[in-house]
């Protein structure tokens, strides 16, 4: 543990080193072996992360108060009183996030080696993955907001590069640009928030030289919120700034974590290779916003308006994205909207003073969503790049292992009792009721929708009569090398079995990581049930601990549940083994699954009839509420017009001025040439004489 903390720079550096090796030597020498540097780098980082987690658990268990360690290496940026150190901060929250990032990340890179086999630019893909893990570990480990921002922008860049991996495809390029630009909107607010933090507190370090030193931003905010205005001379300014900082930081979180209204980039990001969708756009990067709000909890909790905004936006996004997912037909798009929806849950969790529950859901979500994405990657691999679920059915006969894995993932996402999603989701749902009935209704209804659309997909694709798309996906000619390998799956079942003997659609390299993730998706829920181990552990994080203290002093005590902050009450937890919330949640989930079973397995024609009966609603859902079109008309086009206007101004006014400046000497030269320079030597001499006389007159008179 001490060794790991002292050498913690290795955690981001090893993946970066791997990325450098793959990137520089991959094209010529490593080629198809380019995954090795990344495997080793990320694997080593994962081992270090788990050692760190073990050490943290030990440390947290043996200490009463919050635990956190600062490890600063050198002065990174220094300008006047501003200083940002290149350093890391370790507490339970960091440890948990690190394990999710490197652990899930490692299995996804293993899967990617199987999935991307034979792609052009194989080395490039792995170099980007390594760079991504580097950025993401920086993001969760950084000891100050500048390091967080470095990682924040780094993952944004990697996301851009990886979405645009198939850069020959216009849709991929557009999606990459869109993701980058939409994130810019959020990052703008985020950067302003960091600046405001520095302006008000004079530092951007979380905990300064150490937890309890009182020199860090978060502890200063805690002090000023707890001990009222007279705690220091800048208290008035700081309290004023704390009204606005959360809103600015929140913008960044909404952009990165794809919340309404900045969610539009995430569904389009599915143009990237599937492992990328799993790693970046489901399991890790998009959770950065949640992590940031939990980490900066002290800045947020004191501001009830900001907390309400976070919860409301999260709840709205959860419902909104879930309804869109109901009528999507692209496997990955369904999961993309489901990711947005689940992120909405996490924001609700953060907003209703339950950061530990939000992080719990984050962890379980990382497992089952990565599993779901990678499983759909296997489906895509086997189906020649097809992802349209209307064209396939009954795949359990062709992909028996994937069938089971997908079932586990879907059940976990749907919140089927005893799987991980059940515990984490219901924790959030149950606590939402205490805050707002409306919000509680929203998230409960969303849970129902989630169960329904997840199992609609599952029943449609894996159950029922076998139907497989015969021709390769026409829209993705350069997309998949898999079609070159000629997996021509015959339509009738017999030859399909015959085909299976020749082509293995489920290579071990792809299935093994999925098995691990599936185990995680099943068991991750027991981290926090029946006893709140994870929450208690997270409660030792100073960020969560201070947030709890502020919450206790700023809110009605009924609203602040100690266990949501991982604080064990003195009287012992009186929480029943199975709460009513769990019963309701489980019932809702099963109801959703049953509905999906009725409509999409038993009687598919009926689903079509009902859909046809609700024509206006389904068409608006299929159009995704026209949000993209509205943005296009209301924001993009006016901006384009503005751009054209400025371009015209630039052309006429600015270029005109420059041209004019150039033209004046030309014109005068031309005139002088005709009038003065006539070739009479005597004329020149006379001009010189008059010039000299004139100068002498001026000088001497």
């Amino acid at each position: 543990m001490e060794f790991v903390i002292a050498h913690s720079y290795l955690i981001p550096l090893l993946p970066l080193l791997g990325a450098a090796i793959s990137g520089f030597f991959g094209a010529k020498w490593l080629k198809g072996q380019s995954h090795w540097p990344i495997w080793l780098g990320v694997g080593a980082a994962a081992v270090m992360s788990f050692v760190l987690l073990g050490g943290m658990i030990h440390l947290a268990g043996s200490s009463e108060g919050p635990v956190g360690r600062v490890q600063d290496y050198y002065e990174w940026v220094s300008a006047g009183t501003f200083s940002a150190k290149a350093g890391f901060f370790f507490d339970p929250l960091t440890a948990v996030m690190l394990c999710v990032v490197t652990g899930v990340g490692f299995f996804i890179t293993v899967f990617a080696a199987g999935y991307m086999k034979g792609e052009t630019g194989y080395f490039r893909f792995f170099a980007y993955l390594g760079l991504f893990i580097f950025s993401m570990t920086n993001l969760v480990m950084g000891s100050n907001l500048a390091m967080l921002y470095l990682g924040w922008e780094g993952v944004g860049l990697c996301s851009y590069l990886l979405i645009g991996y198939y850069y020959e495809k216009p849709a991929a390029r557009e999606a990459a640009k869109k993701a980058f630009l939409v994130n810019r909107v959020g990052d703008f607010g985020f950067a302003l928030g960091i600046m405001l933090c520095f302006w008000a507190f004079g530092t951007i370090s979380y905990y300064g030289s150490g937890v309890g030193s009182g020199t860090g931003l978060l502890e200063m905010a805690h002090r000023v919120l707890m001990h009222a205005p007279d705690s220091n001379v800048h208290a008035a300014t700081q309290l004023w700034a704390l009204k606005y900082i959360p809103f600015l930081l929140m913008l960044g979180a909404f952009g990165k974590s794809a919340q309404f209204p900045l969610y539009v980039w995430l569904p389009d990001a599915m143009e990237g290779p599937t492992p990328v969708s799993a790693l970046i756009h489901a399991a890790t990067m998009v959770t950065a916003g949640v992590y940031m709000i939990v980490r900066c909890g002290t800045l947020f909790v004191g501001n009830s308006a900001a907390m309400m905004t976070v919860a409301a936006i999260g709840g709205f996004t959860a419902l909104f994205a879930a309804t869109i997912a109901l009528r999507q037909f692209d496997l990955k798009k369904v999961f993309a909207y489901s990711t947005i929806s689940q992120l909405g849950y996490m924001f609700v969790g953060v907003g209703i003073l339950a950061p530990a529950s939000a992080v719990f859901h984050l962890v379980t979500h990382a497992f089952f969503k990565a599993l779901l994405f990678l499983s759909s990657g296997v489906v895509m691999h086997a189906m020649n790049g097809h992802l349209d679920m209307r064209k396939m059915s009954g795949l359990k006969k062709v992909l028996p292992k994937t069938n089971i894995l997908m079932l586990i993932g879907c059940a976990a996402l749907a919140g089927f009792p005893a799987l991980s999603g059940f515990f984490s989701k219901d924790e959030i749902v149950a606590q939402t009721w205490a805050h707002s009935t409306l919000l509680g209704m929203t998230v409960l209804f969303t849970a129902f929708l989630t169960a329904y659309y997840t199992f609609r997909l599952y029943f449609q694709v894996f159950q029922g009569p076998l139907v497989v798309p015969s021709e390769p996906a026409e829209a993705k000619p350069d997309h998949d090398p898999h079609q070159e390998s000629g997996h021509d799956i015959p339509v009738d079942g017999h030859t399909a079995h015959h085909g299976d003997e020749h082509h293995n659609h489920e290579p071990m390299l792809m299935i093994l990581p999925l098995v691990v993730l599936a185990i995680g998706a099943v068991l991750a829920g027991y981290l926090n049930w029946p006893k709140d181990h994870l929450a208690e552990f997270l409660g030792k994080s100073p960020s969560v601990h201070y947030a709890y203290e502020i919450a206790m002093s700023h809110y009605d005590h009924d609203l602040v549940k100690a266990e949501s902050f991982g604080v064990t009450e003195a009287g012992g937890s009186s929480e029943p083994f199975i709460t009513p919330g769990m019963l309701i949640g489980g019932m809702v989930s099963i109801a959703g699954i049953l509905l999906a079973y009725m409509l999409h397995l038993r009687d598919r024609a009926r689903a079509e009839r009902i859909a046809a009966g609700l024509q206006p609603i389904t068409s608006i859902l299929e159009a995704k509420y026209m949000v993209d079109e509205i943005y296009q008309a209301a924001i993009v086009e006016p901006l384009r017009d503005l751009g054209r206007f400025f371009f015209a101004i630039d052309r006429i006014v600015v270029d005109g001025l420059v041209w004019l400046v150039g033209f004046v000497p030309q014109l005068s030269g031309f005139v002088l040439k005709l009038t003065v320079q006539r070739g009479y030597l005597q004329g020149y001499a006379a001009a010189m004489l008059f010039g000299v006389v004139a100068i002498l007159l001026i000088v001497f008179l």
């Binding site: 320079q677 070739g679 030597l681």
Partner: protein, 87 residues
């Protein structure tokens, strides 16, 4: 002498005469330098004139060479023959 040189340079077209006029201007300046040197009672003026004469000798040979070359080109000494050199 300087004035005669200037007027000559401006009014005549013959290259050799024009060159002679520049020499005249030189000498005018030189005499001026000696006169002022004498008036102020130091020898810097005279020393400078010697210097000017040396350079004038060198320059004269160069300029006469140029004039000869120009004459060979056009068979005339008229300065206006070279108007085509205007920009």
């Amino acid at each position: 002498m300087f004035a005669i040189g200037v007027i000559g340079f401006i009014s005549r077209r013959n290259l050799i005469v024009m060159f002679l006029c520049t020499e005249l201007m030189f000498q005018g300046v030189a005499i001026n330098l000696i006169a002022f040197g004498r008036y102020h009672g130091n020898f810097a003026g005279q020393a400078f004139v010697i210097f000017v004469l040396v350079i004038a000798a060198a320059e004269a040979s160069l300029a006469l060479g140029l004039v000869v070359l120009l004459f060979r080109q056009k068979n005339t000494l008229d300065a206006d023959a070279w108007r085509e050199l205007k920009g």
